[in-house]
Symmetry: C2
């Protein structure tokens, strides 16, 4: 592609200080016409080149000075500030950039570059979105491979299939079903038939217990994903029916500071018939256009059934 | 006082673009041992000198580059991010500093000074507190002096008296009663008997319709001011009984995006017996110590009765 002169891509690096595992994510391209959502015109390429040449190296230098930023504490703060940290990231983004600012100022870049970076980050509330995804990925990786565990450690979609991984299966065994459509408001000029099927790895947030699971912390998100304030509260309440525990570090003020519903247990999904709720972006079905809206979707029940049968067989094989 | 070499004090300047009136506030000293709360030791003086020599001039230079910042929009955003903008200002502060950052970077100050300023602002969520107070003062000044109006335009306290001003009286006529005590959690080591009576001009936020009136947007504030989540929601609901209208620009997600209760009508206060709820800091009764907690308080009913009688007399005098 014209203008791409190198394969370098800067990433966030998140380390689990308890378990030692490390996870990575690419940087936010902000919204809405971006490569991650299928757009690929010259403006997209130009932005990626700038991210490679300025944003990435500047954040790298800033983080080398900072040493580390405590993301778990920041996530907890963001949820008390009306984010659910999947599609509403306004608080998380302001907290993250506030934490980075003194270090960005100390980098060797020109004031013009620094101002460009601050303005880029301010251009969309989404900047911290990938940060929360990789925090979730990092925590869930540490929970993967626990013998006998019926807890989900991955939910991901590729626009065709919806796949899950199960802690007790360990390794890299996927259980899949057909990816659904996402129901929600579309940007002006688009209609439901333009939507591609559910796509992306952002459902790692719901797998951790935020995003759709924490919509009761983020009532203002209904203007983006649709539905009412009471829908948003009820999504969270419903998820306690299919989760193993509450996260004491990430709490929901409106539910009297109860921890977010955490650890999707496939036994509970199968017993109750309640599916994990996901709020997510809607990508155009055709390549080159990008995000066209956001809304609510669910995984297919199929993949949970397949996972339960496979885990039962796996346990038999361990015990025999 | 030792170390004070000049009377210069930098202030925020807020202009009402509709009515043209201008209002001022001093800058946040952050919390809790500060001059504004009665503390006055050398650390307080040193901080004020630094604010005069570095913080103030840097913000002045940054604002000269920025031109202006739309505070009304930012207030609306902060309430959707869990602030009530009197005692919970974490969102407003991150939004305000994010808006200022590109301009602070452009100032002629050294990187060390810039980093000191960023770290000072990050040292307390309270930095934007005075900003919201002066926004409220600015709006209420524009509402002052409307003939026949029974709407409050001022509530203020000095640790002895609680005073109100009424729009329909115009000018500078105060109606007073005894200032109450503030009930809420105290910082470690202090007890209720250490509290001074309700003090300060911060109740301008409740007069505008935020602060205690908007606690339903800021459920996480209960850890600071005490009470339960449902108390916080009920404070807002109750205030619709004594207010004239809702502010369509400053809305409450949990009440289905209803505007905050706005315009305290003394007729409604007298009819219902419901007093305006104020959440506020608690200052130590002795000079030199400062803030020792935060909680809930109410004005004395006396001042509303006096105001109603005086307004009735005033209207008679106009009409005769």
């Amino acid at each position: 592609m014209a203008g791409v002169t190198s394969a370098s891509m800067y990433v966030h690096v998140v380390k689990n200080k308890t378990y030692g595992n490390i996870s990575y994510t690419n940087l936010s391209e902000q919204l809405a016409k971006i490569l991650r959502m299928g757009a690929n015109d010259q403006s997209v390429i130009d932005r990626l080149n700038w991210m490679r040449d300025v944003l990435g190296p500047m954040l790298k230098e800033a983080m080398e000075i900072a040493g580390e930023i405590d993301l778990k504490l920041m996530l907890s703060q963001a949820l008390h500030m009306g984010d659910e940290c999947h599609n509403r990231n306004v608080a998380g983004t302001t907290l993250l950039i506030q934490a980075l600012t003194p270090y960005i100022v100390q980098t060797t870049f020109s004031n013009k570059d620094k101002i460009d970076v601050f303005n880029f980050i301010k251009s969309s509330d989404y900047f911290s979105g990938p940060t929360w995804m990789v925090l979730c990925k990092n925590a869930l990786d540490a929970a993967h491979g626990v013998p006998y565990s019926t807890i989900l450690t991955t939910m991901a979609r590729n626009g065709v299939d919806f796949g899950i991984r199960l802690s007790g299966m360990g390794g890299n065994t996927w259980f899949t079903g057909q990816a659904g459509y996402v129901v929600g408001p579309l940007f002006a000029g688009f209609k439901a038939e333009d939507s591609g099927r559910d796509i992306g790895d952002s459902a790692v947030t719901e797998t951790y217990g935020i995003g759709g699971f924490a919509m009761s912390t983020a009532l203002a998100i209904v203007s983006l994903v649709g539905g009412t304030v009471s829908d948003a509260i009820n999504y969270t309440k419903k998820m306690y029916e299919i989760t193993a525990t509450e996260n004491p570090n990430v709490t929901v003020p409106i539910l009297n500071f109860k921890g977010v519903p955490t650890g999707i247990d496939i036994r509970k999904v199968l017993e109750t018939g309640v599916l994990p709720v996901i709020n997510t972006a809607i990508a155009h079905k055709d390549a080159g256009i990008g995000m066209i809206g956001a809304g609510i979707t669910y995984p297919p029940m199929d993949c949970f059934k397949k996972a339960a049968i496979a885990l039962a067989d796996h346990i038999k094989s361990i015990e025999n």
